[in-house]
């Protein structure tokens, strides 16, 4: 019968450990007593010398170790400030450069800006906007789209410069064509001025861009999608259930997506202090819209995927006037069951352009 607790020197006896009747309780009490006798059978206690230490250089004062240590062995020393200060430090942050951002990702930051800054959303998220202000984005045109990329299908290009501060494009002879887009980009360009040689080659850059565009393998039409989605009759279309059947709701697509931004805010306690924590959430999870009553408007997985698709191609435009899907192809690449967002796009496009063409033949297949 287990009488040990997780902490050395503390033993358990009786019904506090688990349900038991009186004979078992008495037996466990005697067992616990004999464990103590074992411990006290020597005059002194031998201790193992291996102990954990805190690496002061890398400790970021989250104090989680203090909370979880069952021996209360870790003492809190307010040396570098409390966790709250740490968070604010992270926000103020020193300015930084993200180098080599692909055009689709750079475009997505513009979309997130629409969500988190006051211009469209009516509220400024300081965590996002401060970081965005301090960040300079150096984009790098794609040279080799893979089979999942579909940025041209949503109105972007593999050599596009939306959301970019400084844009680089590979042209012939291992040279880069540099375009300065914003003052922030100009500041970065000044720093790296010694690296520049010669003048830019506008023509070669356009040519390079066109060549890459030709390599795109996945090309869909997206301009009819929003109109089709706006029609509420299509909300219960049979295609949602048919295509979404295989989705297992793992949420990989939402976690990889550069424009997915849903979050939740909860109040957490750590020891005696409380913190308000913001963390990412995902519409693909079954409790995402679960009401307190137990009712869930999106009660099956295909409805959740429908929400994701609608969010990208309709809600984003309506709510934030920004592009929802940037065609990075991550959700296709990382889906464990090969659910393909472009398949939806194709189907919707067909339904929108030829409303009666897609009557499914029951004998077909």
């Amino acid at each position: 019968m287990p009488v040990d607790s997780s902490t050395g020197g503390i033993f358990l006896a009786g019904a506090c450990q688990g349900v038991k009747d009186i004979p078992e309780t008495v037996a466990q009490a005697s067992a616990a007593a004999s464990k103590v006798m074992q411990l006290f059978s020597r005059q002194e206690l031998w201790r193992e010398p291996e102990v954990a230490i805190v690496d002061q250089k890398h400790c970021m004062n989250c104090w989680d170790c203090v909370t979880v240590c069952p021996y209360n062995a870790i003492e809190r020393e307010e040396k570098n400030g409390s966790p709250r200060q740490f968070l604010e430090m992270g926000c103020k942050g020193e300015s930084r450069v993200i180098f080599g951002v692909r055009p689709c990702d750079a475009a997505s930051i513009g979309s997130l800006n629409a969500v988190f800054s006051s211009a469209n959303a009516g509220f400024d998220d300081p965590f996002f906007t401060k970081r965005r202000e301090n960040t300079t984005i150096v984009t790098y045109s794609c040279t080799e789209p893979d089979e999942s990329c579909f940025c041209t299908s949503v109105g972007l290009t593999p050599d596009g410069d939306r959301g970019s501060d400084l844009h680089l494009t590979e042209i012939a002879n291992n040279r880069l064509h540099v375009e300065i887009k914003t003052p922030a980009g100009e500041a970065v360009a000044k720093i790296i001025e010694p690296l520049f040689q010669g003048t830019g080659d506008e023509e070669a850059r356009l040519r390079a861009g066109k060549e890459v565009q030709k390599k795109m393998k996945r090309i869909r039409n997206s301009h009819l999608i929003k109109g089709w989605l706006d029609d509420l009759n299509n909300f219960d279309d049979e295609m949602w259930a048919r295509l979404g059947e295989k989705c297992i709701g793992c949420g990989a697509c939402t976690f990889m997506c550069p424009t997915c931004h849903c979050f939740d805010i909860v109040d957490e306690t750590r020891g005696r202090k409380g913190y308000r924590v913001k963390f990412w959430d995902a519409c693909q999870f079954d409790h995402f819209t679960l009401h307190a009553s137990g009712h869930n408007p999106r009660d099956s997985q295909y409805k959740r995927y429908r929400n994701r698709f609608t969010c990208k191609f309709e809600i984003y435009w309506d709510k934030f006037n920004a592009q929802g899907c940037v065609g990075c192809g991550r959700c296709i690449r990382d889906c464990p069951v090969n659910l393909d967002i472009t398949e939806y796009m194709m189907e919707v496009d067909l339904k929108a352009s030829m409303p009666n063409a897609l009557e499914r033949d029951p004998d077909f297949e």
């Binding site: 006896a13 019904a15 450990q17 309780t25 616990a32 103590v36 002194e44 206690l45 201790r47 062995a73």
Partner: protein, 493 residues
Amino acid sequence: MCSAPGQELFKNAIKEYKLDGCLVSALRPKMHEATFRKAAEDAGLNPFKVEIANIREQCSRVHDDKEIGTAKSKDLVKMMVERLKYSRPLERYQMPLTRRVLILGGGIAGIQAALDLANAQIPVSLVEREPSLGGNMARLSETFPTLDCSQCILTPKMVEVVNHPLINVHTYAELESLDGYIGNFRATIRLKAKSVIEDKCTGCGECWEKCPFTAESEFELGLNKRSVIYIPFPQAVPSVPVIDRDNCPKFIKGKCGLCAKVCGPNCIDFTQKDKIIEEQIGAVIVATGFKLMPNVYREYGGYRPPHMTPEKLTAKIRKTLPRSTAGRLVDVINGLEFERLASASGPTKGEIRRPSDGKKPETVVFIACVGSRDCNKGVEYCSKICCMYTAKHTMLYQHSVPNGKSYVFYMDIRAGGKGYEEFINRAQHEGAKYIRGRVSQLSKKGDKILVKGADTFTGHAIDVEADMVVLATAMVPQENAIDVAKTLGIGYD
């Protein structure tokens, strides 16, 4: 490698090459780190210069792809070599040890552990929250499967604990905090103010007999009243009363003080304050016990407001309710309350009478697994003892009311243990009707309770008009068990 010849190989290699560090790339360190460290120590190497790269559980067992697994094991070995470069020889060290045990809880578990330890010459501090030792076992009338008198077993042990020279009993006390580590704990214990000077009190009983005010008895689970200065039950140990300050008019209005006038040895002290004491101890035994799951009645349509526990009801509302502890069907009681009704020292002196009007119940329905084995309505686990005590209750009832009818609604009978199944059979022979099925609702019908149930063997719905219903309620930890676990720093679920 971990076999005896493998160990020998390991030792010989250390000796032969005069190694100053060893890396074993084999299995998980949790299993054999100690083995190899011991071997290294035997061969003259500091045991803490031995490291283990776990290439079994982390590589070969988990990767189907051999190449990836091999590459990962190489990485692991490289990492452990780097670690070994930094590791320093360490020495085990000795710590002093305080030979004293703290036992939390003065129920049968705490009492047994305290006696075992004290008889082995280890000093014990026993902390009990209530004014008397005994715990839940003191409430029981008889024990299964032998139908021995519970108090006859328990009371001598309680007396032995109090009289033992090595056991220091703190009743009406609670653990405030625990610092330190194995062998060297420091416990802070709050001795709640009893308002009675313990050393002077002779336990004559003059005060609690004369006390003109009453409150609900916790020991009798609200089935009876006790005086405001009280001992929980007549056999209480130590036989020193405490004043319930929440209900005593001396503390509320400053009037009365009769107990101080009648006390011969003059030991009532209304000014007493809580005392905090510190004790150095070496080990702790937690024996805080259980309680029965509260608020199960709503499962059967009882008319207590569902979000209200009896503690939350104000005194005014309580008065309007049929019985003091509950706003529910008055004659629906739980197992422990039945124990009190059946107990010779209980409120009915051992005669089974129902709480509402004191009538002898002619039909009693026992419902098993109330709150147990159903995570939606209670706890997921089986409370294990209910099958047995329900059988015992039917027997006690049949003995008390020979012509009475008893029905047991059960899910299945779980009676593993010496003499347990025989005990169930005996209960059935003595007249209990066992019906396999659940009860869906209890409702009031005249002065009876209508039990709507099902017999899953015949497939019929069964209605029983019962005079009293006994619920075999789930066992759950004490309400502050989690606080205790946090104070002690031990894991809990």
